[in-house]
């Protein structure tokens, strides 16, 4: 069975229906919302597989189904669905990981009274995410993009009684919205320049050669191409969503949400939406590549930000003590790698890494969730320890996930996708900076993951809850095992010897490389990984931590560096001191102007009118006025609370009305007579 673009809307519609059912249920309902979510998710998964089969039969083709949304004047706003290998692979990925996380969540949140609501929000998220993938219009993508942001907001703040969770939810929404406003401007610009927001529309879409030619050849002041500016604006949105420097600050805080949310949304899928967007609009991003004289190519900006993020995230992950925060900064870093890959021109490598990362990072987060669940919400590395023996399945699968993340050679999927990125960075003609940053990041990744695994699973239990931990039920361990299979097996879809995934994604045959060409890089990076792991073992493994209060070995050696990293380099404080203060000051200024300048002017005008009203006190009142006065007299007698002192105002007003009417009459007569 295959699925065409015309019916593609079913994939996001099913979870949306499940969300609607969940929302319609009473607050404490459990079975129906959960059941609806699971059924819808399974059906969507089947449909996405069908779509993938369809897309694979003809990887170079794409099918679209466009429709009118509404019209404004004579301008018709059109949206559409798009099925191509990128959509199909991403759709299958999102459905698979979502389904596994859904199953895991049934156990993880079993005791939460609002589990029904949880599944409702989760279904809403999946629906919006899938809608984003199948959109054939930047406008529709933006709509889903914002809805994804909404569901992320709702889920980060799911335990909204916790002030930290409520604050984190708001921080995530606002920070990503900063980027989204860039995306919105880019969308408006694109719409204005091309007259459409459709990606593909039989030659008239924004990603097709006439539009690309136009955008790539329209020059702005300063020598910029329009496509560069638009591309960078779209990248603002991608950077916000995908936690790229300098907008990465929300992602670690987002870990206040339930752990399955962290796994699905803030590791595997939503945060990768920015990378997906860049891959989707890659032709636009690359439209300025032919221009030699532009100040900067759009992709160069992407590569630089990606490299900085990859490195920054890895550094910050080293000094975190919360198991989820280590993984969160690791996600920031890995997203940086993906952006880096897009920037150096290999969006295929970025999507390859996105897919493998989704599996192994979801695995790591669910593994962390399994640990947290078993230890009654203990997330501090220093208070865990010694879990390898008590939680064997979790340990083995977590170790597999870690192997994939650090890129242990040959067996693990992360190795192959990371190699693809590093290879692309190595041959990038513009600069070596991304490659160097990538290699450094590899060493750091190996180091912090070794630390994490040793602290959590080895040594001795350093708290009561860690000592009493035991493995969770099958609905938790089975998803872990399935994700572990993916964390290993998926890498073989895209090795240099057999680049199947690459050729399917790009729709063109990618030639296989001999091992000889890629071997030197593999050897170097493997050496770096082993060095990083060795350093990790040297610091943490030789003498495992015995006491939760013992000082971290790194902190003992380099307290200043460790302290700075643990404090996230003070970026949050920097923003509060600059952007935050600027906003507060502008708000204060707006209030001041409002009260004293405009308010003062209006007040003066009011007092003038008041004075004029008093001059009119002696004027006769005509019949209309008397009638009103009578009415107000009646009212006034009813309103006892209002003292007589205020009645002068009423009369003054009524006199003004009478005056006004008299003036009209006079003027009208004067005008009519003339």
């Amino acid at each position: 069975m295959t699925l065409t673009a015309t019916h593609l809307w079913l994939i996001p519609a099913l979870p949306l229906a499940a969300a609607a059912i969940g929302a319609a249920m009473p607050r404490r309902a459990k079975a129906v919302p959960i059941g609806a979510a699971l059924v819808a998710m399974t059906l969507s998964w089947l449909l996405s597989c069908a779509a993938l089969v369809g897309a694979l039969t003809d990887p170079s083709g794409r099918s679209v189904a466009n429709f009118d949304w509404f019209s404004a004047g004579t301008a018709v706003i059109r949206l559409g669905w798009l099925l191509d290998p990128l959509t199909a692979f991403m759709g299958t990925l999102v459905c698979t990981v979502s389904l596994l996380v859904f199953i895991f969540s049934t156990a993880y949140l079993r005791d939460d009274p609002r589990i029904g609501r949880f599944f409702c929000f989760l279904s809403l998220f999946v629906s919006a995410m899938l809608g984003l993938l199948v959109a054939n219009s930047l406008l529709l993508l933006f709509i889903c993009w914002e809805l994804v942001g909404l569901s992320s907001y709702l889920l980060i703040g799911f335990w909204y009684e916790k002030p930290a969770a409520a604050a984190a939810a708001k921080k995530a929404f606002i920070t990503t919205r900063v980027g989204d406003l860039g995306l919105l401007i880019g969308l408006l610009w694109l719409y204005h320049a091309t007259g459409t927001s459709l990606f593909y529309d039989g030659g008239a879409g924004v990603l097709e050669s006439p539009a690309l030619g136009l955008l790539g050849s329209t020059l702005l002041p300063g020598g910029w191409a329009a496509s560069t500016a638009i591309g960078l604006l779209l990248f603002c949105g991608a950077a916000g969503k995908s936690g790229q420097f300098p907008l990465h600050i929300w992602l670690p805080d987002a870990m206040e949400g339930p752990t399955p949310v962290s796994a699905l949304i803030h590791a595997a899928t939503m945060v990768a939406a920015g990378v997906f967007l860049m891959a989707r609009v890659f032709p636009l991003m690359a439209a300025d590549q032919g221009l030699a004289s532009v100040p900067m190519h759009a992709l160069t900006g992407v590569a630089v930000i990606g490299a900085v993020t990859a490195l920054l995230g890895a550094f910050l992950a080293v000094a975190q003590t919360d198991i989820k925060r280590v993984l969160a900064y690791s996600t920031v870093s890995q997203l940086g790698y993906m952006m880096l890959a897009v920037g150096v021109g290999s969006w295929v490598a970025a999507i390859f890494h996105l897919i493998t990362h989704a599996f192994f990072k979801a695995l790591l987060f669910l593994g962390a969730g399994s640990v947290i669940h078993a230890t009654h919400h203990e997330q501090d590395l220093r208070r865990l320890g010694g879990l390898a023996g008590r939680m064997r399945i979790t340990f083995v699968t977590f170790a597999i996930g870690s192997g994939a993340l650090v890129g242990l050679p040959l067996v693990f999927s992360g190795f192959w996708s990371k190699e693809a990125i590093l290879h692309a960075a190595e041959v990038w003609p513009v600069s070596h900076l991304p490659f160097v940053a990538g290699m450094t990041g590899v060493a750091l990744t190996a180091f912090y993951m070794t630390r994490l695994v040793i602290e959590v699973f080895f040594g001795q239990a350093r708290s009561e809850s860690a000592a009493e931990a035991h493995e969770g039920p099958g609905s938790m361990t089975v998803p872990l095992a399935l994700l572990a299979v993916g964390a290993i097996g998926l890498g073989w879809l895209g090795t240099p010897l057999w680049p199947w995934l690459q050729s399917r994604l790009s729709g063109t045959a990618v030639p296989a490389h001999g091992l000889g060409e890629s071997l030197p890089l593999m050897v170097i990076s493997t050496t770096i990984v082993l060095l990083g792991m060795g350093a990790g073992w040297w610091c943490y493994g030789r003498t495992p931590r015995k006491d939760a209060r013992a000082i971290d070995p790194l902190a003992r050696r380099w307290p200043a560096v460790y302290g700075a990293l643990a404090a996230r380099l003070g970026l949050d404080e920097l923003y509060a001191a600059t952007v935050g203060r600027l906003l507060t000051a502008s708000a204060g200024l707006a209030c001041f102007l409002d009260r004293w300048v405009w308010g003062g002017l209006m007040g003066a005008a009011g007092r003038t009118a008041e004075a004029a009203g008093e001059i009119n006190q002696g004027m006769d009142e005509d019949g209309l006025n008397a009638g009103f006065d009578h009415g107000s007299e009646h009212l006034r007698s009813g309103a006892r609370r209002y003292s007589r002192a205020q009645t002068g105002d009423v009369q003054g007003y009524l006199r003004a009305v009478a005056m006004g009417l008299a003036v009209v009459a006079l003027l009208l007569i004067w005008g009519g007579v003339r």
């Binding site: 019209s71 914002e146 002030p163 606002i174 919105l184 707006a590 405009w598 009103f628 006004g660 003036v663």
Partner: protein
């Protein structure tokens, strides 16, 4: 002329209700409720009827009633309805009964309140339907009287001062409007909007006004502008707005923001756009700057408010300013930008309608909080309402995200169209406008976080009931419409598309 004067019925049925209430001083509370709701609801029923008979492919007026009134002055009793009027009549039909319910629930002396409210509703409808300046202006001015008493008598502690400021500032604006139209009448012998628009299209109006010589034609334009600017309000003529919205009782604030602020926006389209396109174009730069000022400074000022009603009042200034931003940007369009004019104008009307829904819903929610809190409505007076009152939280949350411009809800459609037009017409204004979008998200989410999230504290720590049946009856329809119009915006734009095209085609391009 129709057999049945439908539009007169639309305007005068609420007044008939007011008359009946006036004639029945001993009316028991139940009868007041039934009677006033029936007459207030008549607008929606008649509006729906009009909708079903309305030909949306026409840009002209339908259901026209025109009879001579004051022959010596050439004044007609002239009513007519086009897509914009229909939209606003429907908005009035939706918001007015709900605002009336909200008003009646909380007060003693329901009869007097209902009477004044019906008077006010009739005035607003008259403004939306009258096509001759004379009746139009009567409705326009008369609306101040019931509004004044509604604010003053049933409002908060500062209501007296607020009502007074409201009336005086509005009246000052109206004086300009009146003088301007007297001058127009002097030059042309008519004050009929339709006739004047025709004269303007033929170039006659400009010539006649130019006969006054000197700066008089510009002064006439500024006079009309002043009257409309105060009502909408256009920054910086909004000084009356925050205290008035804050002090007026909840239901009245709903009506003020949902319907009466639209009277100003309506006037801009009905009078300024067709009669003074040249002046609008010549002044579009500074006017756009003012409207942008309202959008940005309104949002920023809202950030600092701790009184929730004042916060929403500034938010209203911000949202209504978007309508005017679109209008002024469109008025200044030059050749080659014409494709952006239609989205901008459509966006302004859609935004006006949507703001009517979301702002009145939000004010109602604050009213609910205020009633639970015994008058407390500070940002920090509540906490954990989401635990205590989940349904209120859900409905208020939808309204809030609609106001914030979340796609999928109605607010996004208007803002998208406005920004779509604005970007093409004045890119820098669009970029600057994003500051307002960000600030809006910030204060609305702060509102949400402080009041609804966290643990139960402040007012919420005690007994805190969720919505009762009456409150649900007010909020649910509004929220359903927000979702519906967010997904199917064609329901609104379908009514105004020919009109928007017609307006865009009448632009004097330079």
């Amino acid at each position: 002329m129709n057999a049945v004067p439908w539009l007169s019925l639309v305007v005068f049925l609420p007044w008939l209700g007011a008359l009946l209430l006036w004639l029945w001083p001993k009316a028991p509370s139940g009868a007041v409720w039934t009677l006033s709701l029936a007459f207030s609801g008549s607008t929606l029923i008649l509006g729906a009827l009009a909708l079903s008979c309305f030909d949306p492919s026409q840009s002209g007026y339908q259901f026209v009633e025109r009879v001579p009134w004051i022959r010596t002055l050439g004044i007609d009793y002239h009513l007519g309805l086009d897509g914009m009027s229909l939209l606003l009549v429907l908005l009035t039909g939706i918001v007015a009964p709900l605002a009336l319910i909200a008003s009646l629930r909380r007060v003693a002396r329901t009869r007097m309140l209902a009477l004044l409210f019906l008077l006010l509703q009739g005035c607003a409808l008259g403004v939306f339907l009258a096509l001759d300046f004379f009746p139009w202006f009567i409705f326009w001015e008369l609306s101040l009287v019931p509004a004044f008493f509604l604010i003053k008598v049933w409002g908060g502690p500062g209501a007296g001062r607020a009502a007074y400021t409201f009336v005086v500032i509005t009246l000052a604006g109206s004086a300009g409007l009146l003088l301007a139209f007297a001058a127009i009448h002097g030059a042309t012998g008519t004050m009929n909007f339709v006739d004047l628009a025709r004269l303007r299209a033929e170039g006659e109006l400009t010539l006649r006004l130019a006969e006054y010589g000197g700066t008089v034609p510009t002064l006439i334009f500024l006079g009309v502008l002043a009257g409309l600017a105060v009502k909408a309000p256009l920054f910086p003529f909004h000084a009356w707005m925050p205290p008035t919205y804050a002090e007026a009782p909840t239901g009245v604030t709903m009506f003020l923001t949902g319907v009466m602020s639209k009277m100003g926006v309506y006037g801009f389209f009905r009078i300024l756009w067709p009669l003074f396109p040249g002046d609008l174009r010549d002044h579009s730069g500074p006017l756009l700057l003012l409207a942008m000022g309202g959008a940005i400074l309104g949002a920023l000022a809202a950030l600092r408010q701790t009184d929730l009603k004042r916060m929403l009042a500034y938010s209203s200034l911000n949202h209504v300013s978007y309508c005017l931003v679109a209008l002024f940007a469109a008025a200044g369009a030059v050749r080659g930008q014409i494709a952006a004019v239609e989205p901008a104008l459509a966006g302004a009307l859609v935004q006006a309608f949507n703001h009517g829904l979301s702002a009145s819903a939000l004010f109602f929610c604050v009213g609910v909080l205020e009633a639970r809190g015994g008058g407390a409505r500070g940002l920090n007076d509540f906490g954990g309402v989401r635990v205590a009152a989940p349904l209120l939280s859900l409905l208020c949350g939808v309204a809030l995200f609609s106001s914030l411009g979340l796609p999928g809800l109605n607010g996004f459609v208007g803002e998208f169209l406005v920004f779509r037009g604005l970007f093409a017409l004045s890119p820098w204004a669009a970029v600057a406008g994003t500051i307002a979008l960000l600030a809006t998200a910030l204060f609305l989410l702060t509102f949400w976080q402080r009041v609804f999230h966290g643990s139960r504290s402040g007012v919420t720590a005690g007994a805190f009931a969720d919505l009762d049946a009456g409150e649900r009856a007010v909020l649910v329809p509004l929220v359903v419409l927000m979702v519906l119009l967010g997904v199917v915006p064609g329901l609104i734009t379908g009514l105004i598309n020919p009109l928007v095209t017609h307006w865009a085609a009448s632009l004097p391009l330079s």
